[in-house]
Symmetry: C2
Subunit: 468 residues, 2 copies
Amino acid sequence: MPRDISTDIPQTLAALEQVLGDRLSRSKPDLENHGRSESYFPLTLPHAVAYPTTTAEVSHIARICSEYRCPLVGWGTGTSVEGHALAIEGGVVLDFSKMAAIRSFYLEDMCVTVEPGLTREALNAELRDSGLFFPVDPGANASLGGMAMTRASGTTAVRYGTMRDNVLGMEVVLADGRVIETGSRARKSSAGYDMTALMVGSEGTLGLCTGLTLRLHGQPESVAAAVCSFSNLHAAVAAVQDTIQMGLPMARIEFVDSATAAAVNDYAGVSFPLTPHLLVEFHGTESGVAEQAERFGDIIADHGATGFEWSTRPEDRTALWTMRYNALYAIKAMRPGARALVTDVCVPISQLARAVEETQADLARASIPAPILGHVGDGNFHAILLVDPTQPAEFEEAKRLSDAMTNRALALGGTSTGEHGVGMGKLGFMEREHGDAWAIMGALKDTLDPLGILNPGKLVPPKSRLTS
Amino acid sequence: MPRDISTDIPQTLAALEQVLGDRLSRSKPDLENHGRSESYFPLTLPHAVAYPTTTAEVSHIARICSEYRCPLVGWGTGTSVEGHALAIEGGVVLDFSKMAAIRSFYLEDMCVTVEPGLTREALNAELRDSGLFFPVDPGANASLGGMAMTRASGTTAVRYGTMRDNVLGMEVVLADGRVIETGSRARKSSAGYDMTALMVGSEGTLGLCTGLTLRLHGQPESVAAAVCSFSNLHAAVAAVQDTIQMGLPMARIEFVDSATAAAVNDYAGVSFPLTPHLLVEFHGTESGVAEQAERFGDIIADHGATGFEWSTRPEDRTALWTMRYNALYAIKAMRPGARALVTDVCVPISQLARAVEETQADLARASIPAPILGHVGDGNFHAILLVDPTQPAEFEEAKRLSDAMTNRALALGGTSTGEHGVGMGKLGFMEREHGDAWAIMGALKDTLDPLGILNPGKLVPPKSRLTS
């Protein structure tokens, strides 16, 4: 925590306590809860956890942290897998869980304005009877503010886009406490720089999101799910490439490899063939999904798929998707006590087969279990590297495998992170991925946060801010 | 041209001539061609027009202009309607017409990398046999670089999005000559700030676009077009709102008012009823478009539409779309010799009926002809104000009407420009639309272009750069 040299933490916390009272927590369990991540990073305690309830309070907190140059790190549900919300230079974690209201429904405009601590499942529960839903589904029941700030996506991005496409506007508290609004409820605009897009994916380094307007979509009239298996990985991925290139409007198209199928069989007491699978979903009218399912059936038949079944009945759909729903738990259960290092590359569709095959060949030579699954319709896939936390050598091996995947993705014209974000895990790849544009990101950061108090040590090139 | 006080134009041009030879033009017709706009702004001559052929030359030009603090303004096809590319502080207009190649086809990835001077029609001609197309269609055969830099959209944005959604990456020359690459061919990424989105819509104030990777879409298997008329404006707009809220995947949904229908009748010798119309297009499979057309027919029947006809045959489609294809020419022919001041507001769909009705009531009291048409599926519409250029009072009235439309759109939660951009015409609304976020835009501009040489006087808050 080099920051402590110039930050007067006791003074900062005293000033914050004046504003927040007992909503500034310094209890050990609270600090520990906000020092953990869902990943392999070590426990990193902040000095305090703040629980604001209003935008005005967030602004006040930012002004105080600016005055004392105290690091300020936003926190949603703590489900980031790259350690975004860890206060690695100490300071204050700002937990948005008490800002979780729906501010306004704009159902005629197919959007809604929410506070950042609201989770996606809570939002969809509120929307259930409206005919609308919020589609972005990263798996975890993450907070919508956190999803925006990491540019999250998940299984439905192939159809509905990522947070980039589904955040229409934001309320943002800047480092100096100023509150700005970006975007509007209009469906498009050419009025100046796209400040919303600049904030989405900025990982709390440019400002703190205190409100966001989200695009909603009509609940599909009909949903069909399907599963099919392939004799080898190449056939499965080639089928995905053809499907995307044919322009079939897939709602989800997920890949799991044979190791994942085996894990799910053990975990859920089912008996999927031990081969690569695709699990897909179609959204549309009744006749539309039938047509899509038939066309998809034709495409995969050309690639030798077997066991193609599809259904629009909810109970059948759930059965078909058992594998995907249980995949992560099943994989973790393969090796009790292990920690999961989850990789996250995304490549151009034309490079997908090569990227997955080379990755699998690499992983087959490894000593640790590493099933592959992913949102392959976007070219995005993950290997789940199961590491025994008591064996440093395994962790080193996992890091090496992960780095090799990332370097391969960059060499193939892809990106180091499809949906998990930079956080702690991908910082080392930013320069290779962005070249001089990374320095520009650093300059933008310095402009909006000249004292470097917002989530320091993340996303942009390091610079000594102690002397600033 | 206050800039001249500190800019040594003769030295700048001498240095540029060393690089470009006779591709630096100072001929009067050339300066005049690059001093005009498609709008009401007065002729604004630059000092010279540069015709680079490579990114390296653009970089070299930027370095020279930085050295001598000479304004540098990008130019595509000159079809902007807000005067974006006018060199209002003098200096050099950089014409991209000699950088119009397709750099790489990535058809398997459904994208293509092009130079900025390529026009959208030229690109689609090259793509004709590929099964893919580039959908963004602002009407004019604009350059793709210009479309990106103004965040253009048009008739198909309701289905395929705007340039925001269809630019995957960019090559950008910064003010100091550095070349950065943004984005990639991967369909999504969470790797840092969205520099592509920051550049799209930046109107040449942050950098010069020297290459761009564009998302392509599958040519639809079947296209159906339809037209229908309504007894009054309210019914037509209410039908649009219902259609969008029902989630019908319209490929285009265009509104024209009765004045436009009358103009087209006169211009094209046809006999549409003198009422408001909707013109729509459906893209999909054969059965898909039939289903969409039927559903649309049901929706508009509820709003009393008449004359609903749809067809998938190309010759019928052209006949049905006569009104939209001819609208702008027909409107201009209503008043020979007039100049068109084209307004461009976009409001939330829930406010569309109110915005259009209040606008029409306002225009009905005006002394100048002002038909309304627009891409109403996005909430975006235009009034075409036909001004006699010899009558300053008419111009004043048109400005007053346009400003009233813009203020109304902002009051209704919309934006001052749906697709035309800020340029000269909307600068005065930026502070009201963005509040403190406009100052942040200015700070970002100062960071990327500290000398203020890139398209000075546009988009961001004015500041005296003569002293910088």
